[in-house]
C-alpha cells in the first residue's frame, strides 16, 4: 500500500484513495463541498485545493488519488490557504444573508468553512446579489423545499438522484452564474429517499418540509439510535430537545443503510408527539380504569398470570416493537407459568429498500424486531395460541388471562373488532406507550417507554443484531419494558427483579445458541451478523 505524507503525517493508504479520504485517515480535515464518498467525483467546488510537492498548480484533493509512494501534501500552505479564502469569498458574494431564518444555521458548510477559511468582511458591497426570481421557497416535491438563492451549485443533489436513488428528478440547468438545480414541471422529487438530498446539501438550499423551522440545531441533543419504521434496521441519529424529538437523520453504517434512510422512517417519531400517551398505571375497579401505583398494577397482573385456572389458558402476545431483551423476559414469564401460548405479531408493510454498495438492505415488515423477538423465544409451543389466532380469529375467548406486551400493533390496536376479540379474555393486561382503545379496554394498563426512552437490541431483516441506547428518560410514570417485565418476573423469582437490558441480553446469549458468545457491552457499533449462525432445533 502506498505511503503518503499529509501535513507532516505519514500513513499508508489503499492505492487509489483520494486525498480527502487519505487526509481524514490522518486526522486532517480538508474542506470540501461537492465530494461525497458515495457520489461520483466531479471536482467542481474547488474548495479542497491542496499543494502537492512537485506539481506547479494546486490540486483538487478529491480527484487526486494516491497511487505510489512518496506523495507529499500540504493542506495549509500559503497558496492553499489563499485558495480556500478565495473560494469562500466567491461563494459568499452572491449568497443571501439568510442565517437568521435559515434551517441550516449551526450545521452549515458555508458557516463552518467561512469561519475557518474565509474572511470576516465582504468586498461585494455595492452590487446587487444574484437572485433566482420566485425560487426562494419552492417545493421540489412533498418532502423537500428549495431556496435557489442559497444554492452553491455543488450538484450533490443532482448526482444523488442520478446515481443513488436512480430516479433522475433533479437536473442541472443553464450555464455560468445562472446555473441552477431543479425539477421539471410535473415530475417532482418524490422517491422513497427524497429527503436524503437535504442531508447531503451543505447549505440551506434544500430543507426538509418536515423539519422546516422546527428547531435551532444547537438546541438539539443528538443520540445514536435505530429507526423503527420497518425491519431494515437503518441506523439513525435521534435529535431531540428535552425529550421532544425534532428529527431523525441517517447515521452511517456500511453494513446496513450506508449514508441513507427513507422518507417514511424519518417521520416515525411524529406519532410519539401526536398520539395520546399512557402516563400512569391503571387498574380496573368497578368497571372503570383508575390510576394506581406500580405496585398495585404489577400485583394485580402477577395474581392474574400465575393463577392456574381451569376455565382458560394464560397467553402472552408481543409486537414487533419489542426489543430482544423485552421479548426474552416475556418468554421467561411464559415459561415460568408453563404456558405454550406466546407469540409475536407484526403487520407486513410495504417493502422499503435502501441502496448500499454491497447490494442494499430492505425491510418488509412494519416493525423493527419480529425476528429478534422470535429468536429470543417468543414462539408458540405445541398447540399454542399465536397472534393470528388471538387477533384475527377470536382465540382470546379461550384465555383466562391475556397479557399483551407490548401493544404497538399499529392499526390493530385501534381496530374495534380486534379490541373486541381480545377483550374476550377474562383478564386482559396491556403494556404499551400509546393510549389506545385496546389499552382502554384492559383490566390492567402498564405505561411503557417509547423507543427513544429505552435501550435494547433489534435483529433486522438481514439477521443483523444491533444495539441502541436510550435518548432521554420516559416521562411521568412510564417505564422501559425491561424494567416492568423484570419487576413482574421478580415476583416469581427475586433474582429477576434487578435485571436490566444488559443483563437480560447476556442471559439470553447464554441460553439461545444464535446469540452465543455475545456480550452486551462488547457489541460492535455496526452490529453483528447472525446470519451464518445455526438455528437451534425446533426454532423459527
Amino acid at each position: 500500500m502506498p505511503r503518503v505524507t499529509i501535513d507532516d503525517r505519514t500513513l499508508e493508504v489503499a492505492a487509489g484513495t483520494n486525498l480527502v479520504d487519505a487526509a481524514a485517515a490522518a486526522g486532517v480535515q480538508i474542506p470540501h463541498y461537492c465530494y461525497h464518498p458515495r457520489l461520483s467525483v466531479v471536482g467542481q467546488c474547488r474548495m479542497c485545493m491542496v499543494e502537492v510537492e512537485g506539481m506547479p498548480k494546486l490540486q483538487a484533493a478529491c480527484s487526486t488519488p494516491v497511487v505510489k509512494d512518496g506523495m507529499v501534501v500540504r493542506t495549509q500552505s500559503p497558496a492553499a490557504v489563499e485558495a480556500q479564502r478565495a473560494i469562500m469569498e466567491f461563494l459568499l458574494i452572491n449568497h443571501p444573508l439568510d442565517c437568521p431564518i435559515c434551517d441550516q444555521a449551526g450545521e452549515c458548510g458555508l458557516q463552518d468553512y467561512s469561519f475557518k477559511h474565509g474572511q470576516a468582511f465582504s468586498r461585494f458591497r455595492f452590487e446587487e446579489k444574484r437572485v433566482y426570481p420566485e425560487k426562494e421557497r419552492i417545493p421540489l416535491g412533498p418532502t423537500v423545499m428549495l431556496n435557489m438563492n442559497r444554492c452553491i451549485q455543488c450538484t450533490r443533489c443532482v448526482r444523488f438522484t442520478e446515481e443513488v436513488s436512480k430516479t433522475g428528478e433533479i437536473g442541472f440547468f443553464n450555464r455560468g452564474s445562472h446555473a441552477e438545480i431543479g425539477t421539471v414541471e410535473g415530475r417532482p422529487l418524490d422517491n422513497p429517499l427524497s429527503t436524503c438530498v437535504v442531508d447531503i446539501c451543505p447549505v440551506g438550499a434544500l430543507t426538509s418540509t418536515r423539519f422546516r423551522f422546527a428547531e435551532r440545531v444547537w438546541y438539539l441533543d443528538k443520540k445514536p439510535s435505530l429507526c423503527t419504521g420497518c425491519d431494515a434496521g437503518c441506523n439513525i441519529t435521534l435529535e431531540h430537545r428535552r425529550g421532544s424529538i425534532k428529527r431523525y437523520k441517517p447515521r452511517y453504517n456500511a453494513e446496513v443503510n450506508d449514508y441513507w434512510m427513507c422518507d417514511f422512517g424519518r417521520g416515525t417519531h411524529e406519532r410519539y408527539r401526536d398520539e395520546p400517551r399512557l402516563l400512569s398505571p391503571l387498574v380496573r375497579k368497578n368497571d372503570e380504569l383508575a390510576p394506581a401505583s406500580w405496585r398495585e398494577a404489577i400485583d394485580a397482573l402477577f395474581q392474574a398470570v400465575r393463577a392456574k385456572r381451569a376455565d382458560g389458558v394464560t397467553a402472552f402476545l408481543g409486537s414487533g416493537f419489542l426489543t430482544t431483551e423485552e421479548a426474552f423476559l416475556l418468554a421467561q414469564l411464559a415459561r415460568l407459568v408453563e404456558s405454550p401460548h406466546l407469540s409475536v405479531w407484526t403487520d407486513s408493510g410495504p417493502a422499503r429498500q435502501i441502496p448500499n454498495p454491497r447490494g442494499g438492505v430492505s425491510g418488509r415488515e412494519a416493525a423493527p424486531n419480529r425476528r429478534g423477538a422470535e429468536w429470543a423465544g417468543l414462539v408458540p409451543g405445541a398447540d399454542g395460541l399465536d397472534g393470528e389466532n388471538l387477533l384475527l380469529e377470536g382465540g382470546a375467548d379461550r384465555c383466562a388471562a391475556l397479557f399483551v406486551a407490548d401493544s404497538d400493533f399499529g392499526k390493530a390496536a385501534r381496530d374495534p373488532r380486534v379490541v373486541e376479540r381480545l377483550r374476550k379474555a377474562r383478564f386482559l393486561a396491556v403494556m404499551g406507550w400509546a393510549d389506545t382503545p385496546l389499552a382502554r379496554a384492559a383490566d390492567v394498563v402498564l405505561p411503557a417507554a417509547t423507543h427513544a426512552e429505552r435501550e435494547g437490541t433489534f435483529v433486522n431483516s438481514q439477521s443483523r443484531l444491533q444495539r441502541f441506547t436510550r435518548a432521554f428518560p420516559a416521562p411521568s410514570q412510564a417505564r422501559p419494558g425491561v424494567e416492568i417485565l423484570a419487576e413482574l418476573l421478580g415476583r416469581f423469582e427475586p433474582r429477576w427483579g434487578s435485571v436490566d437490558a444488559a443483563t437480560a441480553f447476556d442471559l439470553l446469549a447464554e441460553e439461545v445458541d444464535r446469540f452465543a458468545e455475545l456480550r452486551w457491552h462488547s457489541l460492535p457499533p455496526q452490529g453483528v451478523s447472525l446470519a451464518a449462525r445455526e438455528a437451534p432445533e425446533g426454532a423459527a
Binding site: 433522475g168 414541471e185 410535473g186
Partner: protein, 163 residues
C-alpha cells in the same frame, strides 16, 4: 404542480431519422443533441416541454436530464420563437464594426426587445456570441443562413423580406 407533459409522439420522420443515426454511436445517450436538433426543427424552431419529454422517452433518459441539456446550449430554445430567428453577433469584432447600431435598429424595426416574439409571430431576435464570421462583420444568422457584411440599409431590406 400541473401533470407531467404527456410525451407527444415525435413526427414519424424525426423518429426515423434518429433511428438512422443510431449505428453511429456506441451509446443511446449520444443521440441526444442530434435528436434535439431534429425535434426542434420539426416544432417551429423551439422545444416544448412535450417535445423534450418525447425525446427523453425515445432515448430512455430522465426528463430532467434532457431539460438540463436543452438549457445549456444557446441554439436550443425552450420558449417559442418567431417564424424567423435572428441571431445578431455582438461579440468584439462585430461590435468594432457597428453591431451595436444594428441592435438598436433591430429593436426599432421589429418593435420588440431581445428574446421577445413580434405580435404577428413573424420574428424574434437575440444577440449572439461570435459566429465565426468576423471578417465579414457585422453579421447576423437568420434561420439557417449567415447574412454578412451588413449595413443598416441591408438589414432593413432583409427584415422587410421576412414573411
Amino acid at each position: 404542480m400541473s401533470s407531467p407533459a404527456t410525451p407527444v409522439a415525435l413526427p414519424a420522420e424525426v423518429v426515423a431519422r434518429i433511428d438512422e443515426l443510431r449505428p453511429r454511436y456506441p451509446t443511446e445517450e449520444a443521440l441526444l443533441l442530434p435528436a434535439l436538433h431534429l425535434a426542434q426543427a420539426a416544432n417551429g424552431g423551439w422545444l416544448s416541454a412535450e417535445s423534450m419529454a418525447a425525446v427523453a422517452e425515445l432515448l430512455h433518459l430522465p426528463v430532467a436530464r434532457v431539460a438540463g441539456v436543452v438549457s445549456f446550449y444557446d441554439m436550443f430554445h425552450p420558449q417559442p420563437v418567431g417564424r424567423h430567428r435572428i441571431r445578431l453577433c455582438t461579440n468584439l469584432s462585430c461590435q468594432l464594426r457597428g453591431a451595436n447600431e444594428l441592435a438598436v435598429l433591430l429593436r426599432h424595426e421589429l418593435g420588440v426587445e431581445k428574446g421577445v416574439v413580434t405580435p404577428d409571430g413573424r420574428a424574434s431576435w437575440v444577440s449572439f456570441e461570435c459566429l465565426g464570421s468576423c471578417d465579414t462583420a457585422p453579421m447576423a444568422m437568420i434561420d439557417d443562413a449567415y447574412h454578412e457584411n451588413l449595413t443598416p440599409d441591408q438589414l432593413r431590406r432583409i427584415l422587410a423580406e421576412l414573411d
